[in-house]
């Protein structure tokens, strides 16, 4: 009998693990009462819990915005810290509803993992960090270097491509988590630490002497970082996509956390459509018509979130650069809400 029970358990485990893709994520989230968001285990500016356990960061704000749109409460998010290596499995198996974890959107990930990738909330590229005392000015001087990187990332692949294309020799040491990677670099195991440029600035803060290290000028790849969700649930995809677009549109229209209540009285048709005083755009994605109002009220617009977490108002002080609005020479562009 024990054997039978065992086999039933094993069988059930298989069946459960496979999950079901077509299940309505929105309904699950609503009935659970909380959004489960896959986030970084700790990357300053993008997703990191503070001393009190409150999560902050650009990616964290994205998740909070989705929760705000659904529940009118930005705190109804459970952040699930995931390593780079485990993140897709966690999303595929339904452990998290959405993955906003500085994840690069690539064709193979989009087409072979059973995932959908959405709007890019941070346009990034891979860079290198070295010790100042090596007196290196360019990545082309790195032949023979040993490089610390995190496994299961596009970084690992770009690194191999870069050194192969430039016929440079190197030795790679790959770690499962970002913390171990930066610690090994700090301990002198490697000459070079590589990850997305934004990550370099964020991780540099963790080093014992951050000022002894410099980021090399070369950016060796395109890293569009964005949100991902399970393939096949288009309604859920619409919610995740338009949450970001609403934040970008709000910045474009000058709607901020502070003035959103006044803006409800605005006569600008674009603002009216965004805040739900005109049209039924919220209902079309399965939410209420004030969905975008909720997002801006609780989280703010894209520009506010950027400044607070990674931009001028943060320790990272990253310039807007390509992440500025399209109207200001950047790449952040939202389709019109109409």
């Amino acid at each position: 009998m024990k054997k039978v029970l065992m086999s039933v358990a094993v069988g059930a485990a298989f069946v459960m693990a496979a999950g079901s893709a077509s299940a309505q994520t929105l309904n699950q989230v609503k009935s659970r009462g909380v959004l489960q968001c896959g986030s970084n285990t700790g990357l300053a500016g993008f997703g990191q819990p503070d001393a009190q356990g409150n999560w902050t960061g650009l990616d964290v704000d994205y998740c909070r915005a989705v929760a705000a749109a659904i529940f009118n409460d930005a705190t109804k998010v459970k952040f699930v810290p995931l390593s780079a290596k485990d993140r897709f499995t966690a999303l595929q198996s339904g452990e998290v509803d959405v993955l906003v974890r500085n994840t690069t959107w690539t064709m193979s990930r989009d087409t072979q993992l059973g995932l959908e990738f959405g709007p890019v909330n941070y346009y990034d590229g891979q860079g290198f960090m070295v010790r100042k005392k090596l007196k290196i000015a360019s990545a082309m001087e790195l032949s023979g270097a040993s490089v610390c990187t995190q496994q299961g990332t596009t970084t690992e692949l770009n690194l191999a491509d870069f050194f192969r294309a430039n016929k440079l020799k190197y030795e790679v040491v790959a770690f499962a988590s970002s913390d171990e990677t930066i610690k090994a670099y700090d301990a002198g195991r490697c000459d070079v630490f590589t990850t997305d440029a934004s990550g370099l600035y964020a991780e540099r803060l963790k080093l014992t002497a951050p000022d002894d290290h410099i980021v090399l000028p070369e950016i060796i790849s395109k890293e569009p970082l964005g949100a991902a969700w399970r393939h096949g649930d288009n309604q859920w995809g619409d919610i995740v996509k338009w949450t970001h677009y609403a934040m970008v549109t709000a910045e474009e229209l000058g709607v901020t956390k502070a003035n959103v209540d006044e803006m409800l009285k605005s006569t600008n048709p674009d603002v009216k459509r965004l805040l739900g005083t005109e049209g039924k755009f919220g209902e079309a994605i399965g939410l209420t018509n004030d969905w975008a109002y909720r997002i801006i009220k609780h989280v703010g617009n894209y520009g506010e979130s950027f400044d607070k977490n990674v931009g001028a108002g943060s320790r990272l002080k990253i310039a807007r650069g390509v992440n500025a609005l399209w109207s200001k020479g950047g790449l952040q562009y939202a389709p019109p809400i109409r």
Partner: protein, 402 residues
């Protein structure tokens, strides 16, 4: 046999057993239930697999083993076989597997040696030796292996100098936080002569050892096995080496701009993992050895002394052979534990099977079910082969009842 019970339909008339319906026959009923259970289990596995496949297809997650020959695109630091960025995922699998086998193989040998020493030390009459061994066992056995690995990795790294301040040892050895660099042997054309001599010497040594043992069992006379062994295994190949004109040179490592070029490199990740596994497993082996020796009755030692054997030969000829019978089965489990624990390599960046295959390859291909299944099958195979070898060894050492 009464006519009432006799079967009507003839043929089995000679049978003593009364004819009963099969559901009343415990033996046949047993078969029936076993068959039913088998069908149910198979059905469950089939449904599970079928469900998994159909769900994966529905979610548009790639399935199957087609990824095996695709280009891997990532690099691996330590490799025993040639591997490049352009190699396939399958090649990466082998690189990882060989790294696992390397650390497990070297680990098993070293853990056995250290374990036996500590185990014997725990039984020492010397207070200090005895207590030191006891403290070693208790401290190591009662802290998690993962923490020990992290400790060794950080201890090893922090203790070593940077590349530019490498410890330069005589004979072309360099030690720094990138590892230990050794001269790489370059074998000349005639070196195969030395190899063959060595092989012949080893065979000769084993044949001589067997002959010496049989002679001792027959006549009680001992032979100088150790001296003959040194002559055959060490001196003879050395002689051939010089006769053949010293066909061996070394590729000496040399300090480059960042790193050391040339030579053989032993990575700190490997050293840390090996240290962690050996020290941890040796604590368990020590206890197994102690238990084995204590299981041999004291009367055996006393009897050996009464026959005039000195303490060395007593341990060698009387105690250890009997203790081995108790030691081998639990020793096998420790070997299996060591092999499986080597998968903790992932925490300190040693590219073993789990790190390379179940880590990077899984993530790059996204085919968790296939990759994990292969990885589990590999560990299962390694463990079964280890058990098989140890069981064979055990059956040779087991008490032969006459």
């Amino acid at each position: 046999m009464s006519s009432v019970d006799a079967p009507k339909a003839g043929g089995t008339g000679g049978d003593d057993k009364p004819h009963v319906a099969f559901w009343n026959d415990p033996e046949k009923r047993g078969y029936l239930f076993q068959a039913l259970l088998f069908v149910v289990v198979m059905f469950l596995f089939y449904t599970a697999a079928d469900n998994a496949i159909s769900n994966l297809t529905k979610q548009k997650i790639a399935t199957g083993f087609g990824f095996w020959n695709n280009t891997a695109g990532f690099d691996i630091g330590q490799r025993l076989i040639p591997y490049e960025t352009t190699s396939s995922y399958g090649r990466a699998f082998w690189v990882g597997l060989f790294n696992t086998l390397l650390v497990a193989g070297v680990g098993i040998v070293l853990a056995t040696i250290l374990g036996f020493i500590i185990g014997v030390a725990r039984l020492s009459k010397n207070f200090l030796v005895n207590k030191l061994a006891a403290i070693y066992v208790e401290v190591i056995r009662n802290t998690p292996l993962l923490l020990q690995l992290l400790f060794w990795y950080n201890a090893v790294l922090k203790a070593l100098p940077e590349v530019r301040d490498s410890v330069n040892m005589p004979g072309g050895f360099f030690l720094n936080n990138r590892g230990l660099f050794m001269p790489e042997p370059v074998f000349g054309a005639n070196f195969s002569w030395v190899t063959w001599t060595l092989a012949a010497g080893l065979m000769g040594y084993f044949a001589y050892g067997r002959w010496a043992r049989l002679r001792q069992e027959r006549s009680g006379q001992q032979s100088p096995v150790l001296l003959v062994g040194i002559g055959l295994i060490l001196l003879l190949p050395l002689l051939v080496y010089f006769v053949a004109g010293q066909p061996l040179s070394f590729n000496i490592p040399d300090l480059g701009r960042f790193n050391i070029r040339g030579g053989v490199q032993i990575f700190p990740e490997f050293v840390a993992l090996l240290l962690g596994l050996v020290i941890y497993t040796a604590a368990f082996i020590a206890e197994v050895v102690r238990a084995g020796i204590q299981a041999v009755s004291k009367g055996q030692t006393e009897a050996a002394y009464a026959l005039g054997l000195r303490p060395g030969p007593t341990l060698d000829l009387v105690v250890i052979p009997q203790a081995m019978r108790v030691i081998i089965p639990p020793l096998t489990s420790q070997y299996l534990n060591l092999t499986k624990n080597s998968s903790l390599a992932v925490a300190i960046g040693y590219p073993d099977l789990v790190q390379v295959f179940a880590g990077t390859v899984l993530n790059q291909t996204g085919q968790a079910v296939e990759v994990i299944a292969i990885t589990m099958a590999v560990y299962l195979t390694i463990s079964l082969v280890t058990s098989l070898v140890m069981n064979w060894y055990n059956s040779r050492k087991a008490l032969v009842e006459r």
